[in-house]
């Protein structure tokens, strides 16, 4: 108690001094971070703030001179409760979530496999590593166009192959079917992004000291046991970083559906829905509220992962 009281009494003085008396070092330090802070504010916080401000108004730019009244949270109520928008929002939330979970899950499994293979010593490993990266280095729009050709119902190679090996008899309508289009989009994304996961996991694998495995072998552990007890735990932070990056990226899905399906057949993602409202309908008020909803939606994933990541590491300590 006594100590605290002394602190409280002496606090105002030093506090007030700290406000405007900066020593040379502190001053320099502040000056050096100010540009960065300003830039981040201008490109990150200002747009978020402005978008949020827009979302509290009824703005339809298709009609010049239309009043743009402040309507509080009405846009958000509409998004979640009004019949049409509600269905569209929930459908896009379901699609985006299902897509993110399934595509990232598959990318992780394949990526881990690829990383484990590439981590072994074999002839021509450098070349194989470079080749594996190609899908990831392509622009998403190019990937979407390419898969569009593969899925093409008339000339697409996928139908030809499947017919050739006798899996299907009729041409399948990959980009215009309630059941298949989701998987068409997912497979294209998995193809493109698996190398990214593999690359990050490979970097993680290479930091695991060989001694661990040697020690395990001396103790008589099977390769599977050392994978479970050494590789996976040592790789955990890397795995979480890879999953975090990919999940956030997957929830942002836009260009793939924009080019491949134009949002049709149950592939309207949250971002595509937002884009439609903002640009095709110039519905800036409601569109902004969707953008903010998207923002919080993705934040949930980010925070979830960081919680898991942080807790696990702290538990170990």
């Amino acid at each position: 108690m006594a100590v605290e009281q002394i602190k409280v009494e002496s606090a105002p003085k030093s506090h007030r001094r700290a406000w405007y008396y900066l020593n040379q070092r502190q001053l320099t330090a502040y000056l050096m971070v100010i540009p960065a802070i300003l830039i981040i504010s201008a490109v990150v916080f200002f747009p978020i703030g402005q978008t949020f401000w827009f979302s509290l108004h009824d703005i339809d730019r298709r009609i010049a001179g239309r009043a743009e009244p402040f309507i509080g949270l009405q846009n958000y109520f509409d998004a979640f409760t009004k019949e049409g928008p509600q269905k569209q929002l929930f459908d896009s939330l379901i699609f985006t979530t299902a897509f993110a979970v399934i595509s990232v899950g598959l990318e992780f499994l394949f990526g881990l496999g690829v990383a484990l293979i590439l981590n072994r010593e074999f002839k021509g490993r450098g070349i194989v590593r470079a080749i594996v990266l190609i899908p990831w280095s392509l622009t998403t729009v190019v990937v979407a166009r390419m898969w569009g050709l593969i899925y093409n119902s008339e000339y697409g190679v996928l139908n030809e192959i499947l017919k050739g090996i006798g899996l299907i008899k009729q041409d399948q309508l990959w980009i215009a079917s309630k059941d298949l289009t989701f998987w068409a989009v997912t497979v294209a994304d998995v193809w493109k992004s698996t190398p990214f996961v593999a690359l990050i996991l490979l970097a993680g694998l290479q930091t695991i000291p060989h001694d661990f495995y040697e020690a395990a072998r001396v103790d008589g552990a099977t390769p599977f046991q050392s994978f479970i007890s050494i590789t996976l735990p040592a790789l955990r932070p890397t795995i979480l970083v890879a999953l975090l990056f990919r999940t956030i990226d997957a929830t942002r899905i836009f260009d793939l559906v924009y080019v491949l399906t134009e949002g049709g057949f149950g592939t309207e993602s949250l971002n595509f829905y937002t884009y439609q409202e903002l640009f095709r309908k110039q519905n800036f008020g409601f569109g902004s509220s969707l953008a903010i909803i998207t923002f919080f939606y993705i934040m949930i994933f980010a925070v979830l992962y960081l919680r898991v990541l942080g807790n696990r590491e702290e538990q170990k300590v």
Partner: protein, 457 residues
Amino acid sequence: MQESNDKRPAISRRRMVSLLGAGAISTAVLAACGDPTAAPATTAAPATTASAATTAAPATTAASATGKAVLATTKGSGTPKKLVDAFNAKAGPVTIDFQEFPNDSQAMHDKFVTVFGAKDSTYDVIAADIPWAPEFASAGYLLPIDQYASADFRKNFFEGSLLATSYKDKLYGIPWYQNVGLLFYRKDILDKAGMQPPKTFDEMIDAAGKLQTADQYGYIFAGFKNEGLSAMWLEILWGFGGEFWDASTGKVLVNSPEAEASLQWLQTAIYDKKISPEKLITFKGPDLQTTFAQGNAVFARGFASAVGDFEKDTSKVKGKWGAVPVLAVAGKKPAGTLGNWNLSVSATSKNPAAAWKVIEYLTSLDTQKAFSLGEGVLPSVKGAFSDADLKAANPALAILPDAFATAKPRPVTPAYPQISTEVIQEGVTKVLSKQISPKDAVKQMQTKTEEILAKFK
């Protein structure tokens, strides 16, 4: 791992950095919708309402037209650039600053929404896709050009084409190059069978049914759920004598027996008579053109711009095809959907008189001819259609004046983009995949369109 045990703060600092990073990434999402350059600017567009720029048209006369006009277009830097250079070389009082954008019309649309939404005055003349005219006019992005476009000048263009750029009795654009839906057919196959191209929907069912083979479809169209589908279906609706709405009163007319019959015909063609494959629902414009160019269809409903694909050296139908206006029931005039690109003056232009000079130049007969020959596009001025060089270059040119004379624009309302995506494409796709009956489809279209239009009364 060992290291982090000793340095606990290092972990939390790393966590903090990654949290910040996560925040930044999620923020990027807000900017990630669409064109990366366009999106953030729109979000940051000033919240002021559109000013009365449209009504305050400067009363400049043609005599004072001097200075630089900025022309924004997605149309290639080939011929247009050359024509602009030729114009600038004349060293007249007006010069053109030619600004070309990637050939992606949706991206161009989004860019204009961004730029004009922010009251930016960068562009004087813009090349705009046909549905943008009412949308941008209503938003106050465009300048009415009635005072510049004399009655004589307007006579150079097709009535329907000017109707497409008229909003609330004011003119907002002049067609630069045109496009219209046509029915393409295999001349060689029809000649061999001694048949004439079909004119009505019933004749099409007969002819396509008779001529189709195992590896040649009878009748194909672009059935994928996008803007092309709306343009295609509207033609069939008009061909059956139906109307989507009454433009003068704003009354929605889609819940009609004609509209129902138009949708029913599509279902019949696919599922009963099987002259069209079910997979048309995956066909985008290019797929349709490739299929016909590869010789895999007898009849194809496409846009006139497809001619370039059919006349390529790699095309298997080169010289073997013909084109006629689209189908219509007996006694009705066929009406193709217009796919024009128009030249408009922006409401923010500081030099509208100079901008108009640019439009005059680009729509003059000689410029139109050179443009049409160089780029393979269809001219907008009537006079160009009788030109011998153009006729030689495009075998379909002879029938085009007829097609353009009866062609119609898609509903001229700022709500059209929304109606197209949420009502027409939605309804027609459901009918094409047999998820809904034509009767219910037109009923739903009627209600939804009325809801959307209520805002624009």
